[in-house]
């Protein structure tokens, strides 16, 4: 490494190179309060330890397959919550929206006989419309989003289900199969486990080449190889374990695809950069020529649409659309998942992956408590406590980052 590199000219900065350097930088980050995925991993380890001791069934492959089935619907809702949290906004009506969308699917598809896909698209469009209303209320009337969406929480009621209050979806339909039995073939699951590492390696090598050509520093090949290797081995181990049971649900695969797409959009596009900018400093974003109102509108619409799609997933999981859909702990779980996964309530920090990791934590807790035959009120209390702890960790980490001069 020569000093001629553009970004290595300042002698005051310690440059972390190679594997040990990467490790040192990581420890520095954690110490200053930039915790990243660490709380989730620790939380998951604790949960696994506790529940598998109390009931060994918890770790059985088929129980974990069920866990993934259950995680997909609320995970999708949580993905939308990440979008609004990034702006420092909130949507409290996601549960009601998901319930409304499952009711719409029931009414349009089963009762009115429209094609299934038309009903699903209709439900998602209804979600987008509700999100647009929140966006307009926020932009035009400066209505705090928690009030607008709280109104939505009460306002989005399911009268359209009629007097019985529930519509059963046909068991043989592809939608219900998708929610209850469809499993990815083994080869596809293994392929999906290898792809992230392979892509990481490919894009990492390409970036390295470009940075070298542009006379910029690039972290060594060893760091890249270790990262890609760890991810590939971990994912392969997970898939191999799940394959001992039924395998990886398609539902979870589709959810993961959404996570990957949103992750790309947030990190690598102008839109995503604008989301972080608006969440960090809306006035600065406005002065840079970013249309803050459009960004807000897009976030609310995306959130409600994803909540609607999550509602469709939930209906397919339960094979029915009922007035109970989207009530109870759906709101709490979806918001808690995003926060536990590391998306800040204060805006400007977070990632799409926090929805996936967070929902696995939440679902693991809920699944473990169900296995212990605990009542649902106790389950709510424990989930509530976990959310409180996650928010405390978020606040403390934020304070620590501020005192260490990090964002």
């Amino acid at each position: 490494m020569t000093d001629a590199q553009l970004d290595r000219a300042d002698s005051r900065v310690r440059h972390d190179e190679g594997l040990s350097g990467a490790l040192r930088a990581f420890i520095d980050r954690v110490r200053s309060g930039d915790l990243g995925m660490l709380p989730v991993l620790i939380g998951l380890a604790l949960i696994t330890l506790v529940f598998s001791t109390l009931n060994p069934v918890f770790l059985a492959p088929n129980n974990l397959v069920n866990l993934l089935f259950d995680a997909a619907a609320i995970g999708l809702i949580s993905l939308g919550v990440v979008c609004v949290l990034l702006l420092g906004e909130i949507d409290l009506s996601i549960g009601s929206m998901s319930g409304l969308s499952s009711a719409l699917v029931g009414v349009l598809w089963v009762n009115s006989g429209l094609p299934m896909m038309v009903a699903i698209v209709g439900a998602v469009l209804a979600g987008a419309a509700v999100g647009a209303v929140y966006g307009v209320l926020r932009n035009k009337f400066e209505m705090p989003s928690f009030v607008a969406t709280l109104a939505g929480l009460l306002g989005l009621q399911l009268y359209l289900l009629g007097s019985t209050g529930s519509i059963n979806l046909p068991y043989t339909s592809p939608l219900v199969k998708f929610g209850q039995i469809l499993i990815m073939p083994a080869w596809l699951s293994y392929l999906a486990a290898i792809l992230p590492g392979a892509f990481m390696l490919y894009s990492g090598l390409k970036t390295m080449q470009r940075r070298r050509a542009a006379n910029l520093f690039s972290p060594g090949l060893s760091v890249l190889l270790v990262k890609a290797g760890v991810i590939t081995v971990a994912l392969l181990a997970c898939v191999a374990y799940l394959e001992q049971g039924r395998g990886v649900p398609y539902m979870f695969g589709v959810f993961t695809l959404f996570v990957v797409a949103l992750d790309y959009a947030l990190r690598r596009t102008h839109w995503g950069r604008s989301m972080f900018a608006v969440g960090g400093n809306a006035e600065a974003a406005r002065r840079s020529g970013i249309s803050v109102k459009k960004i807000r509108l897009s976030a609310f619409m995306l959130c409600s649409s994803l909540a609607a799609l999550g509602g469709v997933f939930a209906a397919s999981r339960l094979a029915s659309a009922s007035q109970q859909a989207g009530t109870g702990d759906v709101n709490l779980n979806a918001i808690a998942a995003a926060v536990i996964g590391g998306t800040s309530l204060f805006g400007g920090r977070g990632s799409a992956w926090s929805a996936l990791l967070g929902i696995i934590v939440i679902q693991a807790i809920s699944n473990g408590l169900t296995l212990l035959n605990l009542s649902s009120s106790l389950r709510y209390m424990i989930t509530g406590a976990v959310l409180a702890i996650a928010v405390i960790v978020d606040s403390l980490a934020r304070r620590s980052r501020a005192s260490h001069g990090r964002a």
Partner: protein, 258 residues
């Protein structure tokens, strides 16, 4: 655009905030390749004028001409598109984003697949041109000092190759060497044919680089001066009286036995 061409022409610009008239009948010309300093006491309307030109505030009345054509600056985006770049006193940086992201905010290269490598190279090149001492462009703004943030803010305004760049108190937070660098930078920008509007309370800095000094007082024009104008005359125009607190203090100092 030739050097000396009129870029920006303000006539009768008035801005009212409710009962308060912040700007009244302001006239201002900015030509290509000149530095216009805007001076005045606190509350003279300098920042309001800058914000009006940046599209943050809309004038209550009056006309703004850009290269001979009347324009409406109804949003910061419009002002940027025309070629008016602004460095605000509060810098307007996103603390949660790194230096590269802040430099290119709103104008990222390749919006559907951000070109991070190219953006980083351009960031370093630009910062080196400004002789800026930024330790790393991949650190969030929150970790930079006040002077470094100022440098990032000025660098950002230059990225879009604007016709006019407006600097609101650019040297207020800077050390001696960095102030000199910014003044050098202002001259370099002027020599490239851009118009520069500079707001400063520091008469030394103003006289060092300004071709014309426009004085505002209580929201109105109060004369146009050149760098040769004496300090006393400038202060008199700014405060509105030859007998002012600055001159009285000077007289007292001179009167005291050495």
């Amino acid at each position: 655009m030739q050097k000396g061409d009129l870029i920006l022409k303000l006539r009768g610009v008035t801005k009212q905030f409710g009962a308060v008239t912040a700007l009244q009948d302001i006239e201002l010309d900015v030509h290509a390749g000149e530095v216009v300093a805007l001076v005045g006491d606190n509350g003279a309307g300098k920042s309001t004028l800058i914000k009006t030109l940046a599209g943050v505030h809309q004038p209550t009345s009056g006309s703004i001409e850009w290269c001979g054509k009347p324009v409406t600056l109804d949003s910061p985006g419009t002002a940027l598109e025309l070629g008016i770049a602004t460095v605000f006193q509060d810098l307007a940086l996103c603390e949660n984003l790194d230096v590269v992201a802040n430099l290119f905010l709103g104008h990222e290269l390749n919006p559907w697949a951000l070109d991070e490598v190219e953006m980083e190279v351009r960031a370093w090149t630009l910062l080196q041109e400004l002789a800026a001492r930024i330790p790393s462009v991949r650190k969030p703004i929150a970790s930079l000092s006040g002077g470094q943030r100022q440098t990032v803010a000025i660098a950002r305004s230059l990225l879009l190759d604007p016709k006019i760049i407006m600097l609101d108190e650019p040297t207020a937070a800077l050390g001696v060497a960095q102030t000199a660098e910014v003044l050098n930078l202002i001259e370099r920008v002027r020599d490239r044919g851009h118009g520069v509007i500079l707001i400063s309370h520091n008469m030394e800095d103003v006289r060092a680089v300004a071709d014309r000094i426009v004085v505002l007082r209580l929201g109105q024009n109060n004369g146009v001066f050149t760098a040769e104008t004496s300090h006393q005359d400038l202060v008199a125009a700014i405060t509105g009286a030859t007998d002012n607190s600055v001159s009285r203090r000077m007289a007292r100092k001179l009167g005291e036995p050495a």
